[in-house]
């Protein structure tokens, strides 16, 4: 699905810079300043968004390291309880870090790669595939598209293009059914 934050932010910043900011009343200093801050904050977000996940993972890794070092601390009951708490938290954090192995950019690239390869196969099969295999291919692609477009429509339902928005299953529910 191509509606991704970096793309969305880019278009919002351009609209603010090219159209909205020049139209803000120069005499309204607060509005001028706030509008510029909106652009600044969105630009910062656009710049840092691709690094956000890596940043969090790096931070977790460093806190795990710190927790390991701090396990050498010795003390009374209060300290021991805190050490036990920290140790449990570090174990949970280590598990999270292990599961957070791939970068979001890698995830996106993998999806793009598979989309492209499926598309190529459809083109190839329609060029020289065995005719008997085409109905199965069509059934599979249509079934996959049904699930995919349901998610895409739900994701973008707030844009207001649905004739009957109530018929759309919320994206939260669709994703939690996985």
């Amino acid at each position: 699905m191509d509606m991704r934050p970096a793309f969305q932010l880019q278009t919002v910043i351009k609209a603010m810079t090219d159209v909205v900011l020049p139209a803000v009343d120069p005499a309204n200093k607060l509005a001028q300043e706030q509008a510029q801050l909106v652009v600044g904050m969105l630009s910062l977000l656009l710049q840092r968004l691709p690094l956000q996940y890596r940043y969090d993972r790096d931070e977790l890794q460093r806190y795990l390291q710190l927790a390991r070092e701090l396990s050498a601390v010795r003390g009374g009951a209060q300290t021991q309880a805190a050490l036990a708490d920290l140790s449990a938290g570090a174990a949970a954090g280590a598990g999270v870090l292990q599961r957070a192995a791939a970068d979001p950019a890698e995830l996106e690239a993998a999806v793009l790669e598979l989309r492209a390869k499926v598309g190529e196969l459809i083109g190839a099969a329609n060029a020289d595939g065995e005719p008997a295999s085409l109905p199965g291919l069509q059934r599979s692609v249509l079934a996959a598209a049904k699930v995919q477009t349901a998610r895409e429509r739900a994701w973008l339902a707030p844009t207001g293009f649905e004739a009957d928005p109530k018929s759309i299953t919320p994206i939260e529910r669709q994703l939690s059914s996985d």
């Binding site: 090219d18 499926v118 291919l137 692609v141 598209a145 895409e152 429509r153 293009f161 004739a163």
Partner: protein, 398 residues
């Protein structure tokens, strides 16, 4: 799809697409131009003064008598082109010194639909007296005088939707209100019949290639959009590849070549709210010579309508149910409606619409090429609705 840097498309890739997807010469020229500009700068806001000076250069080349451009102002509406309203004080042939309200319609650096201003200009001229259209004055099809290709036509009074109504950004789902539906619906059908029975062979339409009978027009049309899909798409959508193969396998022969408007819908005509008269049909840029069923099927897209007040009837274009449209059209045009072809073109339009909204809309906005990238991004929401409609149609036809 991932191997090519589409923001800086290599020449050999462009040539391979041209070979793989031959289409009409003018469309080929326009699409090549789009890719040639793609690696260049994005769209930067253009001052009205800059636009006026380009307009004056065009007018100096066209007019012998002195003229004056008055009261220039931006017009809103539409997702694809920049529009400036102005008044021209000029020596009008046959009318003497006069002040005429006009519109300058110009492309941005890249558009959600990359089309030919020359085709649009020729068509508006050809349609004079056939259906209500603005008077076409001048064209700058290659951007010789203006920053980008443009046309100048007459300003027409009228509204695209009721003043009090609210519709989404592209003017879809307009509710004209119960009283307006009958009169507007009748004209809507009559005008479509007039377009489809128009003798285009006698008109100056040199920017259009005339297909042979059979399915050549369909082949050109599919090549046109399959090529755009490859030029513009960011991520592959397997459903579109499946649809393209289905459309090619099932291309129906054409019984009669008609002028096809290509974007015949509510939102693309102006009307007078006082007497409910359609005053102008606009946006002829997607027209081609082909099968009339394409315009009919376009009207049937679920996204181009809404439910009646009682919630029981779906009104295509906010005007009337689809079956009523088709019956009225057959009666008015004297042309039969082939239901199989109708279904075929419904699939085609869902396919084309998804390409426009998801691929070209994304690509133009990603390259910061338009005056309203944000609107293009927002309108991508419509693309996924169309994609699902395409899936439904393909499931129905098997």
């Amino acid at each position: 799809m991932l191997a090519i840097d589409k923001q800086n498309p290599p020449r050999e890739w462009i040539e391979s697409l041209r070979r793989q997807f031959p289409c009409e010469r003018e469309i080929d020229r326009v699409l090549q131009g789009k890719l040639a500009r793609r690696g260049g700068p994005g769209y930067k806001p253009i001052a009205l003064a800059t636009l006026c000076s380009g307009l004056q250069a065009l007018l100096r080349a066209e007019l012998r008598e002195p003229f004056e451009v008055l009261e220039p102002q931006w017009l809103a509406g539409g997702a694809s082109k920049l529009q400036m309203a102005f008044k021209l004080s000029w020596q009008r042939p046959g009318a003497g010194r006069t002040v005429t309200p006009m519109v300058l319609r110009m492309e941005p650096a890249e558009s959600i639909v990359e089309t030919s201003r020359l085709r649009e200009f020729q068509l508006i001229k050809a349609m004079q007296g056939v259906v209500p259209v603005p008077e076409a004055y001048w064209a700058d099809p290659l951007g010789k005088y203006l920053p980008y290709p443009a046309i100048v036509y007459g300003f027409v009074d009228g509204a695209a939707k009721p003043k009090a109504s609210v519709s989404n950004v592209t003017g879809l789902g307009i509710n004209f209100g119960p009283a307006a539906r009958g009169p507007l619906g009748r004209q809507y059908v009559e005008h479509l019949a007039a377009i489809h029975t128009f003798d285009w062979r006698g008109a100056e339409l040199s920017a259009f290639d005339v297909p042979q009978s059979g399915a050549q027009s369909v082949e050109w049309m599919l090549n046109w959009w399959a090529r755009i899909w490859r030029e513009d798409a960011n991520e592959e959508i397997p459903l579109l590849r499946l649809a393209e193969a289905w459309l090619r396998r099932n291309a129906p022969p054409i019984d009669r070549l008609s002028l096809v408007h290509g974007d015949y819908r509510a939102g693309n005509f102006l009307y007078s709210e006082d007497d409910l008269r359609i005053t102008a049909w606009l946006d002829w840029e997607l027209a081609w010579i082909g099968d009339r069923h394409a315009d009919l099927a376009y009207m049937s897209l679920h996204t181009l309508g809404h439910y009646s007040e009682d919630g029981g009837t779906y009104l295509q274009q906010g005007l009337m149910p689809m079956e009523a449209f088709l019956e009225a059209y057959e009666k008015c045009s004297g042309l039969p409606v082939d239901r199989a072809k109708f279904r075929y073109y419904r699939a085609f339009h869902a396919y084309r619409g998804a390409i426009i909204m998801i691929a070209t809309g994304y690509r133009a906005a990603r390259g910061a090429k338009t005056h309203q990238d944000l609107l293009l991004a927002w309108a991508m929401g419509l693309g996924y609705v169309l994609l699902d409609e395409l899936r439904e149609v393909l499931e129905q036809v098997g």
